[in-house]
């Protein structure tokens, strides 16, 4: 008994050491980022690194709102991100249900079509897509970015993978009970896929929030631009003002972190606890 508890203790200690090392590797760059955001440009790259600036320049955080319209950019990005995420969640889980649990003609072929496009780098069809979008009059509208991001093959692929792990018997039983497929999706599958949905939410949110090339190409009017373009504007126009760049980066990071923190508890309640056992 005694031996075993010592053994468990050692294992736990090793576990923590490993985790702390990992956390350090993950976090240090961000600590650097925050510390740089509080420095004068010329002090940013001094060595050895001064982790806590002796004279923190909080002005950097005030200045970024006036040098570029960062407020507008954040508002735009928030709007785009929320709409895209919702559309993505709804349409992907809907389609994924059919791919995972229904029999229909051309299912495998259509799914292959989805998977195949995941493999296609956007740079390849960026120009034809742009010309097409513009001919629809979508250039310089937020709709272009919404259409660009909301129907990604990735979402369907991810949701389908999760639905596949749900036993078919569950759907069969519901069908025998006389439930329509729509109700099965809404009342059985959707609640079961909470972890998958939160995963997809986070990924879509992050992708849309951090998307750079799409908005750069489609949104050329100042009042439509997004945060990442704002960051890039900072970097190209104030290329040596690292303090400001880092302050803007920190601000751009905050919303994503909030979304992650508020959603991550859903990962914990897993598929198992949510429905399979009950």
């Amino acid at each position: 008994m005694q031996v075993q508890s010592i053994q468990t203790k050692t294992i736990t200690t090793i576990l923590y050491i490993l985790l702390i090392l990992c956390a350090l590797a993950m976090l240090l760059p961000f600590v650097w980022m925050v510390s740089a955001s509080l420095k004068l440009d010329k002090d940013v790259f001094t060595f050895p690194i001064e982790w806590i600036p002796s004279n923190p320049r909080w002005e950097n955080y005030l200045e970024i709102w006036t040098t570029i319209p960062l407020g507008t950019f954040i508002k735009n990005t928030a709007k785009l991100t929320v709409i895209v995420t919702l559309l993505q969640l709804l349409t992907s889980s809907f389609a994924a249900y059919a791919f995972a649990k229904l029999e229909f003609k051309g299912r495998d072929l259509l799914f292959l079509g989805y998977v195949a496009t995941i493999a296609m780098p956007w740079q390849v069809y960026m120009v034809p897509q742009f010309i097409m979008m513009r001919s629809f009059g979508l250039n310089n509208t937020h709709l272009s970015i919404i259409f660009l991001q909301a129907f990604s093959a990735f979402g369907v692929f991810l949701m389908k993978q999760f639905y596949m792990s749900v036993p078919d018997e569950l759907c069969e039983a519901a069908r025998i009970d006389g439930m329509s497929e729509y109700r099965i999706w809404a009342q059985i599958m959707l609640p079961l896929s909470k972890p998958a949905l939160s995963t997809l939410t986070i990924f879509t949110f992050v992708n849309t929030w951090n998307d750079f090339l799409g908005p750069l190409l489609y949104l050329t009017r100042m009042e439509l631009k997004t945060v990442q373009i704002g960051l890039r504007m900072f970097i190209s126009q104030y290329s040596s003002e690292y303090g400001l760049i880092m302050a803007a980066s920190v601000v751009a990071l905050i919303p994503v972190v909030i979304v992650f923190l508020s959603l991550q508890k859903f990962f914990v309640q897993g598929v198992a606890t949510a429905g399979l056992k009950g």
Partner: protein, 292 residues
């Protein structure tokens, strides 16, 4: 025996599920992609009239130094990044799935690199791995290493730097997928294994790994595709250099499309990339099927 009508009804229901996503997807992604595929057999600069090229765009690739370097680098990058990310994200997910204190904190922290804007983290990363004054090399010096790596500035180390950066940036992302997968494993399986008196490694090997095979397959396919498509990381960290040491296929595509405005040639490279991904994915599908 279902009637023909019921059968048709069933099909229609299925299509109605797919339609909302598929219509958007077809119009805004599939159509441009089909057009891009056709471009591989055409000459087009995005403006002047399109001309027929046949296989000329592909033939030109055989003698294209940029393309050859990019092809080799992309394969090396993928071969390095996929296993490393897979193992480290699984490892991290299993660690974080234990009932330990502060796991929310650790989970959040490991997701940070993924959510952060690439522009910002690449700048930080470059500073930390700076060959002459970065803290990493400073540390190596103090530990007594004489020949410290040149990281992004050295032909032989640049690719390793890119791979390390990718693993660091995307580990958290795949860790989340694994975590969700781990949550899906029925705890009774572990309880049963515990009763059999297995140790942690055996439980991992005989319960966790097989139960995660669907997740692993998903992660592997997504990772492979993502690696083949790598562009922005390379752009931010090494710009494809030194020389062509980290020039990857999408970088070459970008150069061909937007520097030379040779959209046909860019599409031809994309087709090669596409074929590569397809082959690798099919092999993975096969392997996956065999495992199950």
């Amino acid at each position: 025996m279902p009637s023909k009508q019921a059968h048709i009804r069933k099909q229609l229901v299925a299509y109605s599920f797919i339609a909302p996503n598929f219509i958007g997807f077809a119009v805004f992604t599939l159509v441009p992609i089909v057009f891009a595929v056709a471009l591989a057999f055409l000459y087009w600069d995005g403006s002047n009239p399109i001309e027929w090229a046949g296989l000329a765009n592909f033939r030109d690739l055989l003698d294209d130094d940029q393309f050859k370097a990019a092809l080799k680098n992309t394969i090396v990058y993928t071969a390095g990044t996929v296993p490393l990310t897979l193992i480290s994200s699984l490892f991290l997910a299993v660690l974080l799935n234990q009932g330990i204190k502060g796991r929310n904190f650790f989970r959040t922290v490991s997701f940070f690199p993924y959510v952060a804007s690439l522009v910002a983290v690449a700048a930080v990363w470059n500073m930390i791995f700076n060959p002459s004054k970065g803290p990493v090399n400073m540390l190596l010096y103090t530990l007594g290493f004489e020949n410290v790596p040149g990281w992004a500035a050295d032909k032989d180390w640049a690719m390793i730097t890119i791979i390390l950066f990718s693993v660091w940036k995307y580990m958290g992302y795949y860790m989340i997928i694994y975590l969700a997968g781990l949550q899906g494993i029925n705890p009774e399986l572990y309880e049963a294994a515990n009763l059999d008196g297995t140790n942690a490694w055996q439980r991992f090997r005989y319960v966790t790994v097989p139960q995660l095979s669907a997740t692993t397959f998903f992660v592997m396919v997504m990772l492979t595709i993502q690696c083949f498509k790598v562009y922005d990381i390379v752009y931010m960290v090494t710009q494809g250099g030194p020389g062509t040491a980290t020039l990857v296929l999408v970088y070459d595509i970008y150069n061909k499309a937007f520097i030379s405005w040779n959209l046909g040639s860019a599409s031809a490279v994309a087709m090669v990339l596409f074929a590569l991904v397809l082959i690798v994915t099919l092999i993975q599908f096969r392997g996956n099927r065999k495992l199950q």
